[in-house]
């Protein structure tokens, strides 16, 4: 959380979501929208395009989230986009999730996998990470087909890579 501006927005989102009393849902929806921005470059560039009128950009947000997310989530995303910080929205959401987890004395473990993890797998993975690192974590799953198989877990700067992609890359390196 090096950027004070990102930290400020994250703190604001956390405060609003906590004040509205539906923090867990808002976190999930914000995390999903941030992953959509990361995977869809066109969406990110559209929301960050200052040449487009602000009303048009906010209308895009409303079209995407209006029927799928809570009003609080839509309002928070609209607030960030309306402030002209759409490009920083994924980082703001990450910081907000870390801030929220930290309020519960936990860290965020971002798990990338080709398929979604079951609830049991999430709980066992959280327990396994706790066993390995001694830290309580909240697992956030990102569906990433490039992983092919297995899981890649990121906890802050620590990465635990058990993906098929990594093994194929190792095999590729061995050919050189």
């Amino acid at each position: 959380m090096a950027d004070p501006r990102v930290a400020g927005y994250a703190e604001a989102l956390f405060a609003v979501a906590a004040a509205e009393g539906d923090l867990s849902v808002v976190e999930d929806e914000l995390f999903g929208f941030a992953q959509a921005l990361r995977s869809d470059d066109d969406l990110g560039s559209t929301l960050a395009d200052r040449a487009l009128p602000m009303a048009r950009r906010l209308q895009v947000v409303e079209d995407l989230l209006g029927a799928r997310a809570s009003a609080v989530t839509t309002a928070l995303v609209s607030m960030v986009v309306g402030a002209g910080r759409a490009a920083e929205l994924p980082a703001i959401v990450d910081a907000m999730l870390e801030r929220s987890a930290a309020s519960r004395n936990k860290a965020v473990a971002t798990v990338r996998s080709a398929v979604d993890l079951t609830a049991d797998q999430r709980e066992r993975l959280a327990a396994a990470i706790n066993t390995r690192t001694g830290r309580e974590v909240e697992v956030r799953v990102v569906i990433d087909p490039s992983v092919l198989g297995g899981v890649v877990t990121e906890i802050g700067d620590d990465i635990i890579d058990g993906s098929v992609r990594r093994r194929l890359n190792q095999l590729r390196e061995s050919f050189r």
């Binding site: 996998s113 080709a114 398929v115 993890l117 079951t118 797998q121 066992r124 993975l125 327990a127 396994a128 990470i129 066993t131 390995r132 092919l148 198989g149 297995g150 899981v151 877990t153 635990i160 058990g162 098929v164 194929l168 095999l171 590729r172 050919f175 050189r176």
Partner: protein
């Protein structure tokens, strides 16, 4: 120069003037032929007691009287010894002329001669000096010519040495360049060969990995994915044995 020339002209003029001046008294003081004849004729008249007719008659008749007059009046006393007055006048003139010549002419002539000799000596000295100078110039010229020849020879030798050096340097450089080109060519060939091997290996690896990825992707169904995730969780937990 002009003064000396004037002296040379004055000397003979003085001598001629003295001759003319002193010659007249010499002839006037002596007994002339006319006075001698007049004297003899007077004596003849006295002998005839004033009878002119007789005298004329004797003169016409007796030719010897005329001869007598000629012998008495015209014939020189001596062909060798002049008259005394002539000796006096001539000697005086000679002495005066001699003194004038000694006092005036001879110094002038001697001065002219000395000047001429001095001029000749000066000319000779100048000629000698000119000859010496000419020899000096010639020697200097010959020395310069020799120096020029030496310098030219030295320059030619230096040029020859430089040319030989340049030739050797060019040959060495060409040899070095050829050697470097050979080395570069060999290195390039080796590099290209290594690159070709690496490219071929990478291409083979890419083909093999692409095939493996496709096989793996095809084999990764939900069950396999679940097992992989479970295996990962066990690995993280450190319970995978």
């Amino acid at each position: 120069m002009t003064n000396r020339r004037n002296r040379l002209l004055v000397a003979p003029l003085l001598a001629l003037l003295a001759l003319l001046v002193f010659a007249a008294p010499a002839s006037a003081s002596g007994e002339s032929v006319g006075s001698c004849i007049a004297e003899k004729l007077g004596e003849l008249i006295e002998e005839s007691h004033g009878d002119l007719e007789e005298v004329l008659h004797e003169l016409h008749v007796d030719a010897s009287i005329g001869d007598h007059f000629e012998k008495k009046c015209i014939e020189a006393p001596s062909p060798i010894l002049p008259e005394t007055n002539e000796i006096i006048w001539g000697g005086s003139a000679f002495l005066i002329l001699f003194v004038l010549m000694v006092k005036k002419g001879f110094p002038a002539v001697r001065g002219a001669m000395d000047a001429r000799a001095e001029k000749i000596r000066s000319d000779l000295d100048a000629a000698e000096q000119a000859r010496v100078d000419a020899q000096s110039v010639q020697s200097d010229y010959e020395a310069r010519l020799a120096d020029a020849k030496t310098e030219a020879s030295r320059l030619i030798d230096e040029a020859r040495v430089a040319a030989d050096q340049l030739k050797g340097d060019l040959a060495d450089r060409a040899e070095t360049d050829i050697s470097e080109m050979r080395e570069r060519a060999a290195a390039g060939l080796e590099s290209e060969r290594a690159q070709a091997i690496a490219d071929l290996r990478a291409e083979v690896a890419g083909i093999a990995l692409g095939a493996a990825e496709r096989v793996v992707h095809a084999s990764l169904d939900a069950e396999v994915q679940g097992r992989l995730i479970d295996a990962y969780i066990d690995e993280v937990a450190g319970t995978d044995g």
